[in-house]
């Protein structure tokens, strides 16, 4: 008997058919209950995948695969399987999951995606990060991003990747993906622009347990949301060493400077930082830490 895991895919509005981390919320709790039986993930309502969705899906599969004797993915149409193939998804998971799609046919038609700045990448150690940053910087340079834009994207990615491997150590490491989307940027006069989305997920102990190592933060780690809000402050780190705990705060400043945002999810907390305000919400449990950074760009 196969267990069917259904996603929370919206059917109306601007986010209709979009696979985000939130779409996967029901599946993480269900994944924890799997005891060896075959599992099928139903992605047939998905029409569009953003970096947070692909990183979330990769994290979910890393939790599911060791718990199930067979994990299947149900996909529909051509666009989503083709996108997952272009994002290296099947190179990482092709041998570990079953799909109702002929992946070989997708490989033959593989073409570059103009908006892809970083395909889904799995990494385990800090030593891998300079290589990741070097590749994305070259892509950005070829796409004629200005130096300050390249620096903002690369610094965001490097700091969050470093946090993931340092504080979020897990058997599967961490996943990252970066994608640029063309859209209309509002302002004094609407004009074409772009939004660069950076997503990174790990399966480590999470922000609350990391900060709880430092006894002086006991007042700030009573809930996951308390911990996430505190982690955004300059100099807050689990080790308490001077100079530590600056990376996330700097990423928040970069996001705000571009007019974007920084979202964190860990445990049952979700916090989004916009500079002038920070929104918190209790959400279904996420086993690890997830970071999404939006960096709008006027072109």
């Amino acid at each position: 008997m196969k267990t069917l895991l259904e996603l929370n895919i919206r059917r109306r509005g601007a986010m209709s058919g979009v696979l985000t981390l939130g779409s996967l919320d029901p599946t993480f709790t269900a994944a924890m209950k799997v005891r060896g039986e075959p599992v099928v993930l139903d992605l047939r309502l998905v029409e569009f995948v953003e970096p947070s969705g692909i990183c979330g899906l990769a994290t979910l599969l890393e939790f599911l695969i060791p718990r199930s004797n067979e994990v299947g993915l149900m996909l529909s149409g051509h666009n989503v399987p083709a996108y997952l193939e272009r994002m290296n998804f099947f190179r990482i998971f092709g041998d570990r999951v079953k799909t109702n799609t002929d992946v070989t046919a997708l490989e033959e038609r593989r073409r570059g995606n103009p908006g892809t700045l970083q395909e889904l990448v799995n990494f385990h150690s800090e030593e891998e990060i300079p290589g990741i940053i070097g590749r994305i910087s070259e892509i950005l340079e070829n796409k004629e991003y200005r130096l300050r834009e390249r620096a903002a994207i690369c610094a965001t990615l490097s700091e969050i990747c470093a946090n993931a491997v340092e504080h979020g150590a897990s058997p599967f490491g961490a996943y990252a993906a970066v994608q640029a989307y063309q859209h209309i940027v509002s302002g004094g006069r609407e004009r074409r622009g772009e939004e660069v989305l950076v997503a990174i997920a790990d399966g480590g102990i999470g922000v609350r347990d990391t900060l709880s190592r430092n006894p002086k933060y006991s007042e700030y780690t009573k809930t996951d949301n308390d911990s996430l809000r505190h982690a955004l402050k300059m100099g807050v780190s689990g080790t308490g060493e001077i100079g530590r705990g600056g990376g996330l705060a700097v990423v928040g400043q970069i996001a705000v400077r571009t007019g974007g945002s920084l979202s964190l999810r860990s445990g049952a907390g979700r916090v989004t930082f916009y500079g002038d305000r920070t929104n918190s919400r209790n959400v279904p449990f996420f086993p690890g830490t997830f970071v999404r950074v939006s960096l709008p760009r006027k072109v």
């Binding site: 300079p130 620096a151 490097s158 700091e159 705060a249």
Partner: protein, 190 residues
């Protein structure tokens, strides 16, 4: 005339470890170790100019590990009276160096080019900035002259200059032949 202190210039981007993109604490640690080797090879009062102008990106983790920790060790006296000066233009890349030094309540001297006028990166209390500027403007100045210039008594002036000396931002010399006994004189490091 005081003898010109020995100096070395370390170009980070073109070093063996260097690149246009300097990220992560691991990379920062390796650069710091290379900088410490050069610093230790300098004679007392020597100055190490760390040139980062060839770098396009320096993330916070790298900046803190390579420069923040090095500056904190210089300020703690681990390298005697040897000093570190940053050679960098006033650009966004400095923000992470600034953030790291502020976290550590430290500062370092920055110049656009070796020999050009010094600026401060990091955190120096307002009342010390005035003292620092007066010392750099004078080139070399005794505690008595500095106290007179700032309208301070000798002890207060000496306290301020000692704090700047301990931050690694100035040289301090002892003039034992001064009238009335021992007196310090101060001069800039860059």
């Amino acid at each position: 005339m005081a003898k010109e202190p020995a100096r070395a210039i370390y170009d980070v981007a073109s070093s063996e470890i260097g690149d246009k993109l300097m990220v992560t604490r691991g990379t920062g640690r390796r650069v710091r170790e290379a900088l410490a080797d050069v610093l230790e090879g300098l004679p007392p009062s020597g100055i190490l100019y760390v040139d980062t102008r060839g770098i396009d990106l320096m993330d916070y983790s790298f900046a803190d590990e390579a420069l923040g920790i090095l500056v904190s060790r210089v300020a703690a006296g681990e390298y005697g009276e040897r000093h570190v000066v940053l050679v960098e233009e006033d650009r966004e890349l400095l923000e992470n160096v600034e953030a790291s030094l502020r976290q550590r309540a430290l500062a370092m001297i920055r110049v656009d080019e070796v020999g050009e006028s010094p600026e401060i990166v990091g955190e120096v209390p307002e009342h010390l900035v005035e003292t620092l500027q007066a010392i750099y403007k004078a080139g070399s100045i005794t505690n008595a002259d500095l106290a007179a210039k700032l309208g301070l008594n000798h002890t207060a002036c000496n306290n301020r200059a000692t704090r700047l000396f301990k931050l690694g931002l100035i040289h301090r010399r002892k003039n034992s032949a001064a009238p009335g006994g021992r007196q310090y004189s101060y001069e800039g490091i860059a």
